[in-house]
């Protein structure tokens, strides 16, 4: 899933305060699960906007939470609202914001979230990054633990010299060193030879950014 966090209200307000009719647009998929842009968060932001703009008599805040903001069909359904709004405040991920902007071509679309990473909920209210969509997956060599993403330096041949006592990461003592995790997992699976092998420098052009995939069959 895609994980995002809401921007500080002040930043949002600075983007949007001179518009009167604002649609706050959430998304029912990833950002609902990470508590950033679902129905509840749309409601909270809408109330904050109403309070901040209470002196503006013309301020009209509407709310909508399509199932997925990154699907053209689902956003197309909202297109008839365009004449009645001045701006959209999207609470979708970056892909959602851009999908909406591609459809609502006559009004500005602003992001209310900072899209942060691809991850998963590890515990209640805790999301961790798992994948950087590098286009050349290494998980087969690393016991299913992504070094590109979960090692603070994205190293491919083992830990840096900065690993802290007890196997914590140099960059953040709260986090485990990915290479210690990889070592322990491969050891348990009797697959340490995979870590012993030399890994060539990564192909950083495995995905030619911006990435496009065209299906050849379905």
């Amino acid at each position: 899933m895609i994980v995002a966090e809401r921007k500080p209200f002040e930043e949002i307000w600075n983007m949007i305060s001179h518009y009167n009719r604002i649609l706050v647009l959430g998304c029912g998929t990833c950002v609902t699960i990470c508590w950033a842009g679902g129905e509840k968060e749309v409601g909270i932001l809408a109330s904050q906007l109403k309070i901040a703009g209470e002196k503006n008599n013309e301020l009209i805040i509407t709310e909508s939470v399509p199932e997925r903001q990154c699907e053209i069909e689902m956003i197309q359904e909202l297109k008839d609202k365009e004449g009645n709004i001045d701006a959209i405040l999207s609470m979708g991920c970056g892909a959602g914001v851009q999908t909406v902007a591609g459809i609502f071509t006559d009004i500005p679309v602003f992001p209310a979230l900072n899209t942060t990473f691809l991850g998963m909920p590890e515990a209640e209210g805790l999301w961790v990054e798992m994948c950087s969509a590098c286009g050349d997956c290494y998980l087969a060599y690393t016991g299913g633990i992504c070094p590109v993403t979960r090692c603070g330096k994205g190293l491919l041949n083992g830990p840096c010299g900065g690993t802290r006592k007890g196997g914590k990461c140099e960059i953040d003592p709260e986090k485990d060193c990915a290479w210690v995790l990889i070592y322990r997992r491969l050891e348990k699976l009797s697959m340490l030879d995979l870590m012993e092998q030399y890994r060539e420098p990564k192909n950083y052009r495995a995905v030619k950014r911006p990435g496009i995939i065209r299906a050849t069959a379905r």
Binding site: N157, G158, P159, G161, R164, K165, W179, P201
Partner: protein, 299 residues
């Protein structure tokens, strides 16, 4: 006096001594040159940091040139943090063309510990791949397999962390560096002779033919030692040293630190524990001669 190439030093000398020097932040090279002149004839090589601790400075290659110009033998540190493969290779070609023939291949510290904390961490290569890369340039090719018009001739070094916890993943990575082909190894600062001996015994078994230099960083107060134990990865200062530092009268910490370092160096040399030492006393380079004198290395 023309300096002896470090490669030759590694082959011939019984006890090798290198020191670390850090370039300044800015263009005034006066202090760097005075450090170079103070040390160049007393040690086998001056090893120059590369944006050490992720703090932006005058480049390693720049200070290596100053060392050459002033008659010393430089070791250029190269990290993977700030440059992609094009930039790293170009820098190495430049260094080689100017007679800088020693390179220490490092991963590099995290951006977060430095003074440009919003910078993009590059880390496109890791230290094992960097060693492979330098060997490739030495063979006359670039990383993409293209023929070079003039190859490099680097003597390659790597670092090792003997006292990590857990140590196994570090040793595995170290093996990979050795397998890529290195001529010398510098350890992280060590204070415990048994720990050093265990590592040396392990490294010798790998049979890479490389020379091993023990990392020496003088600790100048009990507080510094305790701080390092708690916060600096891969460093372990034994309690006996901490007690010794605690019992040192105020104002004599540096002297004590120098004395402890010198004692350790003498022990390494007398017991032939490893092939030499690499002394790091960043910010106090002018006191390195005292360490050399006290350990009997001031020839």
């Amino acid at each position: 006096m023309k300096p002896v190439p470090f490669r030759e030093v590694l082959e011939k000398k019984d006890f090798i001594v290198t020191v670390e020097v850090a370039p300044q932040k800015g263009t005034n090279t006066g202090k760097a040159i005075s450090h170079i002149n103070l040390l160049k004839d007393r040690v086998d090589a001056l090893n120059v940091t590369d944006n050490q601790s992720s703090v932006m400075r005058y480049p390693s290659v720049g200070m290596c040139l100053l060392i050459k110009e002033n008659g010393g033998e430089p070791v250029m540190q190269a990290t993977c943090r700030d440059k992609n493969r094009l930039a790293i290779q170009a820098d190495l070609l430049f260094a080689s063309s100017r007679g800088i023939n020693n390179v220490l291949c490092l991963t590099g510290d995290a951006i977060d510990v430095g003074d440009h904390t919003q910078a993009k961490p590059v880390f496109e290569l890791d230290s094992v791949q960097l060693i492979n890369l330098v060997n490739t340039l030495n063979s006359g090719k670039d990383m993409a397999g293209n023929e070079l018009n003039g190859k490099t001739d680097f003597c390659i070094g790597a670092s090792a962390t003997p006292s990590s916890d857990p140590v196994e993943p570090q040793l595995l990575k170290f093996r990979k560096k050795v397998h890529q082909g290195i001529s010398f190894v510098q350890t992280q600062a060590v204070y415990d002779i048994d720990e050093l001996k265990r590592f040396i015994e392990y490294a010798r078994k790998l049979d890479g033919g490389m020379k091993i230099l023990a990392g020496i960083v003088p600790v100048i107060s009990a507080r510094m030692a305790e701080y390092m134990n708690a916060n600096v990865p891969g460093i372990f200062v034994p309690d006996t040293l901490i007690t010794e530092l605690k019992n040192t009268p105020k104002g004599e910490g540096i002297k004590k630190g120098i004395e402890i370092a010198a004692r350790f160096i003498r022990q390494i040399k007398d017991e032939k524990v490893c092939d030499g030492v690499h002394i790091m006393f960043i910010g106090r380079e002018e006191r390195i001669p005292e360490i050399l004198e006290a350990s009997g290395l001031w020839a």
